[in-house]
Amino acid sequence: MEYVIEMLNIRKVFGNFVANDNITLQVKKGEIHALLGENGAGKSTLMNVLFGLYQPDGGEIRVKGKTVNISDPNVANDLGIGMVHQHFMLVDTFTVTENIILGSEPTTGGMIDIKRAEKEVRELSERYGLAVDPTAKISDISVGMQQRVEILKTLYRGADILIFDEPTAVLTPQEIQELIQIMKALVKEGKSIILITHKLKEIMEVCDRVTVIRRGKGIGTLNVADTNPSELAALMVGREVQFKTDKKPVQLGKPVLEIKDLVVKDARGITAVNHLDLTVHAGEIVGIAGVDGNGQTELIEAITGLVKAESGSITLNGQEITNLPPRKIIEAGVGHIPQDRHKHGLVLDFPIGENMVLQTYYKQPYSKKGILSFKTIYEKARQLIQEFDVRTPDEYTKARALSGGNQQKAIIGREVDRNPDLLIAAQPTRGLDVGAIEFIHKRLIEQRDQGKAVLLVSFELDEVMNVSDRIAVIYEGKIVAIVDPKETTEQELGLLMAGSKRKEAGVS
């Protein structure tokens, strides 16, 4: 069978760092080909080379048998290569249509023919089953829809080789299922797909073959039918990986977090958390399962004091913390691993060391009489970097220069180290590889075992099922059910999250 894409011995060097070390990737026509590797293994780099964003330092690229020089994305477009980037390449203030036509706009008399464009987008979206509203603004639509826009962008340009760089990291389970259907439909249309994902389950489900890379080197290409998740995980990490985390039985303590009748509005003034009740005890992990946009973000922001609650009460260890300023809440004993690590978690332009005391800088021993003790701060940083395996050249490196996984480890280290009674973890493993996920899950469970309360919010059903002691299903701002992960299935949870079946909420 002929290859549509052949990347032979591709080498890419950043400064002294070899990101791609003679990697070979061959994609057959009409297949879904997975590219698998740890964080920082060089997957995105390889794909950026294929898409013309980076120039390779060595190797050869052939498209449909012909050797090509992909000097910029225009060339890639002309060759029929389209890419859905790991970090979306969408202009927030533009409409869906404007984003799709950007760079190849249909015009009449020098003016963009926006009506015609919208019609074309609509037709395209119907043809491939990619539901979008062509006139909606990007900032107003869900992440899932944004991703469909990204796909439409490539299809609009007539791409028949599609690269998906971690498309599922930001999607809810429902959206992932939809995406899988879309990919299958695309392949049926004769397109070829390269899929990057950390989720082995997805690879097993949709891919035909898989190429594994590790630390910039190609490890090999396998038929998906001939392998299994454990083997793949071992290949990419270089050691055995545990998928199910071992847990001791729950030692339930007194209630730590009690939320009663909480109402929170979102930024646009719409009620997002709607008379919600929830209790988290010491020594347990409560997972919140729900489709994105059902009030999870607002719930967490209300607990941590980032937004004001309209009504209701939140208590921590019996002490009222509703609508206190964030600092008071932090001091009361709440730790928070935020959903958006770049926006909330870190000051990216600070050294990693200074990021380690973001909440505690003003306290002894970091600060004495208004003067910072950098010695203590960096000592602390070194200790946490060691303890939480943060891979960084040193503690003086800016947080910006760390990979996402390592940034996340730094945040977790900081939060856990403060020894909070309640630890809130929002999407703590988004976009991380299996090795890092394993590490983080272990840490969460460790907290629980030490008698802390942990509130986990995640769109990953796997994660919620795996780590939680109880699962609270959130739907339209309410907890609609509380289930025991051992007594439920993904199917049942999915139904609950979709709001179709209401169990009597056994809230207490």
Binding site: F51, P73, M89, L90, V91, L102, E105, T107, K153
Partner: protein
Amino acid sequence: MGVYEVLQIIIPSAIFFAAPLIFTALGGVFSERSGVVNIGLEGLMVIGAFVSVVFNLTFADRFGELTPWLALIVAMVVGAIFSLLHAVASITFRADQVVSGVAINFLALGLSLFLVKKMYGKGQTDQIQVGFDKIDVPVLSHIPVIGPLFFSNTYIPSYIAIIFAFVAWYVIYKTPFGLRLRAVGEHPMAADTMGINVTKMRYIAVMISGALGGIGGAVYATIISRDFSHATISGHGFMALAAMIFGKWHPIGAMGAALFFGLAQSLSIVGQSIPFLKNVPTVYLLIAPYVLTILALAGFIGRAEAPKALGTPYIKGKR
């Protein structure tokens, strides 16, 4: 004086005061929409004023009535070329755009005064003798009520400025060029992946701002000061910058803000002769335009969203 008489004085002078600001602020809109901060508007106006006056003085005999128009075009071209310095520094050499803009301001004033001394042997030029004519627009100025307010005692460049604001709006919001321009300013990498040459777009945008700033300065010098010295452009570029922000980086908004400044300015001047304002100490009238602007911003205009990538050089392949 009755209200109508007052308006009849205020409005035409607001319009002529606003014209240079409108051009320059529109230039700012183009540049900043593409993601390049342009604090050098002041300097670009200086260059425009200088070039137009020198051209006018040199060629008035040869070109007669056409001179000021040709001077505008020359100022536009020279402004565009001069702005290349800002473009090269801030786009190609990744200079801090604010710093580069500050340098533009220093250089423009230094260079033009240096040249004036070199060319004329003194610190300021003579007065130009051919300017733009003050006109009553035929037909329109005879419309009752509105005619005398908006179409009498005005200058053609003022109308060009206003028309140009609509042209700029059309270009930025309705054409492929405009879509690409805005994309480059919001998310250059996204634009890059769509095959748009970010560097080229930004160069074009900065040069447009140079061209328009040049026109703005030329209009100011030709209509208002009629000569060129160190004091000709004193803060007008910063006012244009303020108009651009006030107008939320939107051409029509920027025009509106410039007109607002013009109105406040002429109100503060005419106010001295309006009966019930007559006894107000002059200082209140002098600061009125600025106070009004602050109140307007704090009161009902509020937050303005700058283009997201504003101020950040685009480096291919950097995240």
